[in-house]
């Protein structure tokens, strides 16, 4: 996938970092403000998708290539499962019990409160963000090559091999 003109490239380079920061904010404050892991993860993926659309897929795959993104996806899923299983071995002996400290001693609306809910949000945000970026890259840069005939690209024209 090729990039766009230089105006689009410059502006999206400035804005891309802010989109990632906003996505991380939505994920980490998910237990206090609206949002949470799923919405924040999609925002993080959309930041990388903006870089892909404006600079070309080679640029964004140079920043975060497919195998690293797939491993981040698996890590997020395994982290979520690990937090659920840790509820068995610690206090409560129930699958998925909320075993960390729930209330901050100084008041209710703090960042470090609500047990394992922020950690679960981080795991889900990692998983959704990396997974959706991988799916977008695969679907948008897929080429069909039939042996001996012309190639045709999804999101592009046809070309001879």
């Amino acid at each position: 996938m090729t990039g766009m003109t230089i105006i689009v490239k410059t502006v999206s380079r400035w804005v891309g970092g802010m989109i990632l920061l906003f996505g991380i904010y939505i994920v980490s404050f998910g237990h206090l403000t609206p949002g949470g892991g799923f919405a924040g993860g999609v925002i993080i993926a959309c930041g990388y998708i903006l870089l892909t659309l404006s600079h070309g897929s080679k640029f964004s795959l140079g920043r975060l290539n497919k195998s690293v993104a797939a491993e981040m996806d698996s890590t997020g899923a395994l982290l979520f499962l690990l937090l659920a299983v840790l509820g068995i071995v610690t206090r409560g002996h129930i699958f998925f019990s909320n075993f960390l400290q729930k209330a901050h001693p100084q008041g209710p609306f703090r960042l470090i409160s609500a047990g394992i809910i922020p950690l679960c949000n981080v795991a889900i945000g990692l998983k959704v963000g990396a997974g959706l970026f991988v799916v977008f890259i695969i679907l948008a840069t897929m080429k069909f090559v039939v042996k001996g005939e012309h190639t045709e690209t999804a999101a592009g024209g046809s070309q001879e091999p």
Binding site: I117, M142, K143
Partner: protein
């Protein structure tokens, strides 16, 4: 006043949906689907559900529209072909049945008020009263989906994971067609 605004949004979404179905240009159709998504997100915000409004805007308008536009072939700009008569009649009949049964099932609830007042003792009341004290989370939606009903969220995360693995497995580097014909799929 809320109902007036919601009625206006509903008209907007209806016009957008009809244009999305009837137009022949593919780009206009995709943009109209995005407009329906924006109207739906504003409706969620007016009904005091900001979690769903954020997720609706980001998933439908940003991710889905960009994915559709990036995946279809750029030299296909118009939809050709006619609509089937039998399919149209069946879907209109099922939609009418759905609307009639929906109105009859929900007529005892007042619009805009939460349903738990009319339904009696449900776990809903317990979550609203004791949610902050038991879980420590100010966002009751996050408390419900990650503490009270965390097992369902585990199932949803598994579904997402499986779909990503499925896409990765099908669109691999090289895939063999049957009868010995090699069809190589290249990732550029």
């Amino acid at each position: 006043m809320i109902e007036g605004l919601l009625g206006l949004l509903l008209m907007f979404m209806l016009v957008g949906a009809i244009v999305a179905v009837e137009t022949r240009d593919l780009l206009s159709s995709v943009i109209c689907v995005g407009a329906v998504g924006v109207g739906s997100s504003i409706a969620f915000l007016l009904l005091q559900a900001p979690d769903i409004a954020i997720t609706q805007i980001v998933v439908e308008v940003l991710f889905l529209i960009i994915l559709i536009r990036a995946t279809i072939r750029r030299d296909l700009t118009a939809i050709t072909g006619d609509r089937e008569f039998f399919g149209m009649v069946t879907s209109i009949a099922l939609l009418a049945a759905f609307v009639i049964f929906g109105i009859r099932a929900l007529h005892f609830l007042e619009f805009g008020k939460p349903a738990h007042a009319a339904l009696g003792p449900v776990p809903f009341n317990h979550y609203l009263k004791e949610g902050l004290r038991e879980t420590g989370a100010a966002n009751i939606v996050a408390a419900v989906i990650l503490d009270y009903r965390g097992y369902d969220t585990l199932g949803e995360a598994t579904v997402l994971f499986t779909s990503v693995i499925g896409a990765l497995a099908i669109l691999r580097r090289r895939a063999r067609k049957p009868r010995g014909e090699v069809l190589a799929r290249k990732q550029s």
